[in-house]
């Protein structure tokens, strides 16, 4: 009994109760075998799947966030819009982690459109047009002032 008790404490509290029932059964050989089988029925696995969750797609899934220019055409003549994506100090085009546009397509498209406007002579290259300096911020950039 002492050894059994030690074993029980070693196993832990949860298994203690089940093990004690088994221990009781074993130490009293006089009990009918049917009792032993009944107590061991606690170990039976649940076969019915009625209560388990049904595997399916998340019904509360939100539609993917769309960027500013999703499914829209950006004109190279739209200087005010394009100058929102360049730095006012150096005139360099902002990258994807600043603009927050979707995928590689839109980022490259905006870069190409800005480049086209600069080469065609619509937009200045090394600075931002001073008329558009007070535009609302679209990009995720913070200027140290």
């Amino acid at each position: 009994m002492a050894t059994m008790a030690a074993l029980c404490s070693g196993l832990g509290k949860r298994k203690l109760t089940r093990f004690t029932t088994a221990v009781v059964c074993l130490t009293n050989p006089g009990i009918h075998a049917g009792l032993w089988r009944r107590s061991c029925s606690q170990y039976k696995q649940v076969t019915s799947n009625r209560d388990l969750p049904i595997p399916m797609e998340n019904p509360y899934k939100e539609p993917l966030k769309k960027c500013i220019f999703c499914e829209k055409y950006v004109d190279y003549k739209n200087l005010q819009l394009l100058s929102q994506f360049i730095s006012p100090f150096t005139g360099c085009i902002y990258r994807g982690h600043i603009t927050g546009l979707c995928g590689n397509n839109k980022k490259k498209e905006i870069m190409k459109v800005i480049k086209r406007a600069q080469i065609l002579g619509f937009m200045p290259v090394t600075y931002k047009d001073p008329a558009y300096l007070k535009d609302p911020k679209v990009c995720n950039i913070k200027y140290t002032e």
Binding site: P63, L64, K65, C67, Y73, C102, G103, L120, G121, V125
Partner: protein
Amino acid sequence: MVWPRTGTSQPGAALRSLFWVRCSSSRRRNPHSSVNLPETAAALKRTLEALMDRGAVVRSLESLGERTLPYKMSAHSQQHTRGGYFLVDFYAPTATVESIMEHLSRDIDVIRPNVVKHPLTQEVKECEGIVPVPLEEKLYSTKKRK
């Protein structure tokens, strides 16, 4: 400068269906002068006639105004600071684009000739949205390390 490039010129190019080409060019203007000068009108007339000679069907001619150029441009051994912007919508076969560009580059009044594909011909791609990128996978490289 032709932007974007219209592709290789094939022998059957003239037989291909016409496609829209949008020509945009900035022109020189004398400083402190208005748009409605007979010189500009003559220059525009010249270019349109040249376009039509090469088999282009001109749809419309728009003026985008006159302003100081964003940077000093030098063309035909002259520096320009002010210019007028004009946009010509026209249909043209693919093969004539090069000859049009050649002609425009020879014209002194034209500072920067350009031929650009019409934006309405390009289909707008379907965009699903910002797909979330799993950054955890990119944190550690999956290369085999000996």
